[in-house]
Symmetry: C2
DNA sequence: TTAGAATACCTTGCAACACAAGGTACTGAA
DNA sequence: TTCAGTACCTTGTGTTGCAAGGTATTCTAA
């Protein structure tokens, strides 16, 4: 219907992609979670992620040593794979915090320039 | 050498990617520029872009109707292709502004959650 | 006890896209 | 006329998000 949707939606998706790993680490820094709950928490702040994205991503982060996991029984279905952040993951998260701040500052600077 | 570099650099790149189109539109909203000067302006705020990225991207944005261009002689070399933002481009930019704000708010929310 | 729904995990194949590398063309100076 | 500087552009590669499809477990209701 709307012509705009394509371009804008595409770009919003693009923006989200950039912060996927970062936001997962942020969430896990707060406490252990399993895939579905991570997806939910991200949806709560309007960062949409698909299952097909998050599973490979968690596996990748595990391989890189940023995360670990443990199995835990659930009263409501099959067992859950709870991911937790490692010390190394926290180190990296600190750097990502800095990277995000730098990017946000950069955008802010350009934005103000375009007002002047 | 450093083990960290890969992961972090990779992620910084990833973050930058998400805002490439957005920051180009922001820059052009401020005034007409040619490819090399856009790259320079982005570098000034630590958003690194390669030539091989920016040329196809500008062509894409032109095709989408967000940009136009004109040729202009230079006293210092070959003619330059100055890009300018269209009215439609400005409309889209407004939406991207909103998208960026939303994303930044989302990240901020998760971040504060991890402090609590 | 079996059929279905709900929840959770995972994989495959495709498409988008940033970027390194390599290439063309114009200008001016040595 | 050769070289350096500037500007443009294209090709090939690798990464990666995601839609779609698949498996396994649990609980409920017929």
């Amino acid at each position: 219907m709307e012509i705009n949707t394509g371009i804008i939606e595409n770009n919003k998706t693009q923006m989200r992609r950039g912060v996927l790993e970062y936001s997962i680490l942020l969430i896990l820094a707060c406490g252990d979670e399993y895939a579905s709950s991570i997806i939910q928490k991200m949806k709560d702040v309007n960062i949409i992620v698909a299952e097909g994205t998050i599973y490979p991503l968690l596996i990748r982060l595990k391989k890189l040593g940023l995360l670990n996991y443990r199995w835990e029984e659930s009263t409501q279905g099959p067992p859950r794979k709870y991911y937790m952040i490692t010390d190394y993951g926290r180190e990296q998260l600190n750097e990502l915090d800095a990277a995000w701040d730098e990017l946000a500052r950069g955008i802010e600077t350009i934005r103000n320039g375009s007002k002047a």
